[in-house]
């Protein structure tokens, strides 16, 4: 059972990197929209796991994406930020329920799942584009990019989420 868990996460990790790098980084919708679907890894990752390992793993995920897309270490910085903030976001979205041992993402309501995913994406993209553009003179440009690309990422993540939904156990 446990090895199965690791197995699924390793497969997910590598498949998400490949899909991100080979498909979504080349989308260039309207010339600048490249959705970042690899955030789904952080959305799907089991809740009751070692937190330090989760942060380290997210860092590795971001770094792998950076490695392929020549973006220095921006993806790593953004991903490690949402990995660290994930418990706080969950507490905000799911309330005290999330502290219980029996809590599963699949049992939460649709609205809660949606809000959780959206918050992860918006925080990630905000950190990402702030670092990428790296000047507050272009704050409007940052906001525009965060808005447009978050929307695209959200739609694609929801589609992927319903395609490969986490089984209710």
């Amino acid at each position: 059972m446990i090895s199965n868990y690791y197995f699924i996460n390793v497969i997910r990790f590598s498949l998400l990197i490949l899909v991100q790098v080979l498909v979504f980084n080349r989308l260039n919708f309207f010339g600048f929209i490249n959705p970042m679907v690899y955030i789904l890894f952080l959305y799907w990752y089991p809740i009751k796991q070692n937190r330090a390992a989760f942060i380290a793993l997210s860092f590795l995920l971001g770094l792998c994406i950076d490695f392929f897309s020549d973006t220095m270490a921006i993806n790593a910085a953004a991903t490690v930020t949402i990995a660290y903030l994930r418990p706080a976001i969950m507490r905000f979205v799911f309330g005290v329920n999330y502290e219980f041992q029996s809590f599963k993402l699949g049992n939460a309501t649709r609205v809660q799942q949606f809000t959780f995913l959206a918050l992860l994406i918006v925080v990630h993209h905000f950190v990402f584009f702030t670092l990428e553009i790296f000047s507050f003179a272009n704050f409007l440009l940052i906001l525009k990019k965060v808005f447009a690309i978050s929307l695209a990422t959200l739609i694609l993540c929801l589609l992927f989420g319903s395609l490969f939904s986490v089984k209710k156990e």
């Binding site: 860092f59 490695f67 392929f68 270490a73």
Partner: protein, 272 residues
């Protein structure tokens, strides 16, 4: 001591986060101020081979278009060859060559970021080295930045760090070619003085001041121009000849005399 250990244990996640964040910011800022990091780039063996495999699959879809481009270029080269004025019997042998040319294929192309890099499938094994120029049959593309054994990353002209010497074809006034990160089909030419007469549609080519590109490689045409803030220089918008979203075959140009030129320049500056 006990308390320090307790503190570390209590905040270990935060400390880990802080450490990783500083690490990634360090990598990012280091390459902001200087070159692309020589470690985090897609010319590495793993990334290069994955892109190469994917290129092997997708490259078939655009073969028709690519053939037309190459035939068009061949036509121009034939035209130049047939109309060449016969010189005296001086043959070009490799000693007299000023530039050597290598061919390559783009296996990864970006144009949606402020700093775009292109990966090509030629590397040190094909004697590609950093700071060689990369062009296509239509115009310039960028400068080689990092190389591995079989791959190289190219700093595209669509990169805010890019700065290339360019000139007006008909008047020879030169300026710097930069990119304001906004649209992928226009770049900007700055530092052309106000007294230079400009016409929309004028051709811009690479200048002779660069030790990277040969002179007169096409870049684009003037789309729009206005005066900059100080009212003494033109800001010129250039529509590129290259379609930066659709590039496959490229040529890597090497200036054989580059080392000599650079050494001479360094020595001159030292003597000042």
């Amino acid at each position: 001591m006990q308390q320090i250990i307790n503190f570390v244990l209590r905040y270990k996640n935060f400390i880990l986060y802080l450490f990783l964040m500083i690490l990634s910011l360090g990598f990012t800022i280091q390459s902001h101020s200087y070159h692309q990091s020589s470690f985090f780039n897609s010319s590495s063996w793993v990334a290069g081979n994955i892109y190469q495999t994917s290129y092997g699959i997708t490259s078939y879809f655009k073969l028709g278009q690519e053939n037309e481009k190459l035939v068009e270029e061949n036509k121009q080269l034939r035209l130049a060859l047939f109309n060449k004025i016969e010189k005296d019997s001086i043959e070009l042998d490799s000693v007299q060559l000023r530039y050597t040319v290598n061919s390559g294929e783009v296996i990864k192309n970006n144009y949606a970021y402020p700093r775009n890099y292109i990966t090509i499938n030629k590397g040190e094994n094909d004697s590609i080295k950093p700071d060689m120029g990369v062009i296509t049959s239509k115009g310039i593309l960028g400068i080689v930045e990092n190389t591995s054994n079989n791959f190289a990353t190219v700093q595209s002209i669509l990169n805010e760090k890019s700065n290339i010497n360019a000139k007006l074809k008909n008047t020879n006034h030169f300026g710097s070619l930069v990119w304001n990160t906004r649209t992928f089909n226009t770049v900007q030419l700055v530092d052309i003085p106000r007294l230079v007469p400009l016409v929309i549609g004028d051709t811009i080519v690479t200048g002779g001041m660069s030790s990277i590109f040969p002179e007169n490689i096409p870049i684009g045409t003037i789309k729009k121009f206005d005066l900059n803030d100080s009212k003494s220089f033109w800001n010129i918008e250039i529509a590129l000849f290259n379609d930066m979203t659709n590039i496959k075959n490229v040529y890597i140009v090497n200036n054989v005399n580059k080392k000599e030129i650079l050494d001479l320049q360094i020595e001159t500056e030292k003597n000042d």
